[in-house]
Symmetry: C2
Subunit: 212 residues, 2 copies
């Protein structure tokens, strides 16, 4: 199966590298990084470039698509070439998936109308504007559409997909291979568990996470 890992300027690298690290290990899987234009794509921090080995025109019938998020939501929901490509490959794909604000891209492309979906906790409600139903869960699967919460949630999404695609034993083998036995040093990964002052700080300074 061909797995298209989408890149675009100012995406968040972990959003796509997390799922890639899991999904590229599926039997008979071929991961390909793709973007509007071939070549290096600069991530949100300005410090890292990931290389798109293909442009969208070369990837016409992927089996699985992963769309990452990033801080520049205004650009993402206005990215017509990406939306057009997503609509074009949607019909033939087995899975259309996203991480973080990537769900706003799928939604803005018109692919999540009437569907439950998740996103980064700071922007989940924005899904409503595109007819999707926001859900505050780590991973939301609705038919062949799967969305994950913020950034690191892409790993959980990918293991969930791996189990659906190749069975739980394969997913568990991949999980053990990447030693995904998380031990966060703090209980601060969601607004429900983080100290109120930490949640309050980010709510008061949303530009630290999303710029628009």
């Amino acid at each position: 199966m061909q797995i298209a890992m989408v890149l675009y300027p100012r995406m968040t690298a972990l959003d796509i590298v997390g799922p890639y690290e899991v999904l590229s290990r599926l039997p008979d899987a071929s991961a390909v990084f793709t973007a509007a234009v071939r070549g290096p794509v600069l991530a949100d921090t300005g410090a890292l470039r990931l290389v798109a080995e293909s442009d969208f025109s070369e990837i016409s019938s992927p089996d699985l698509v992963v769309v990452p998020g990033g801080p520049d939501v205004a650009a993402q929901v206005a990215d017509a070439p990406l939306h057009e490509w997503l609509r074009a490959v949607d019909a033939g794909a087995t899975w259309m998936t996203s991480v973080c604000t990537g769900s706003l891209i799928l939604a803005a492309a018109g692919l999540l109308r009437g569907r439950p979906a998740t996103s980064h906790w700071m922007v989940t409600e924005r899904l409503r504007a595109y007819g999707a139903s926001p859900v505050s869960e780590r991973v939301v699967v609705d038919g062949r559409y799967a969305t994950a919460a913020g950034v690191s949630a892409g790993i959980d999404l990918a293991l969930t997909l791996a189990a659906r695609i190749a069975g739980p034993e394969v997913a568990q083998t991949i999980q053990l291979a990447i030693e995904y036995d998380p031990r966060p040093p703090f209980a601060a990964g969601s607004p429900a568990t983080a100290p109120p002052e930490v949640v309050g700080f980010l709510r008061a300074n949303p530009a630290l996470v999303v710029s628009s």
Copy 2:
């Protein structure tokens, strides 16, 4: 502070992108991807290139170094240019750190003699050959040397470092920003929790994880 993210051919991308995503968000931090030669560096899967924006000669006094792992351990423990650079920057660095088999690189460079350290669960015992003391923990900090277990453990390492460097509130803010509230779909991330048949399968097929 300058944070040097090391790249080399056939590294595992998540080993370095996990810590990068956390550490690049530290206040006043500047992350730089570096390798023996500038330019795109192909990861272990053959599907992803990360770009080294500098070569080792340009990064002479990083404050923090992160060394990723990868399947080709034989090449890693014989990588003289990398070892020489690590020894050269060690004296001036505040933190020397690794993810996965990256600890074997630090150890082969002579930097972990007499120190407790961890690595990917399948190769931890190999640390002994370089005078280090293998420890089966997610993150091991010994003075200014910090090592993480396999692949995904780099995120836990980086949050641990973030707390030491900038305090727990900053680390928690970063954790909430990347929504690191892991929900693995299986309890299969360590040999202690994975189903015995999954552990047995990887032990019988080590080349799926490390090639030598």
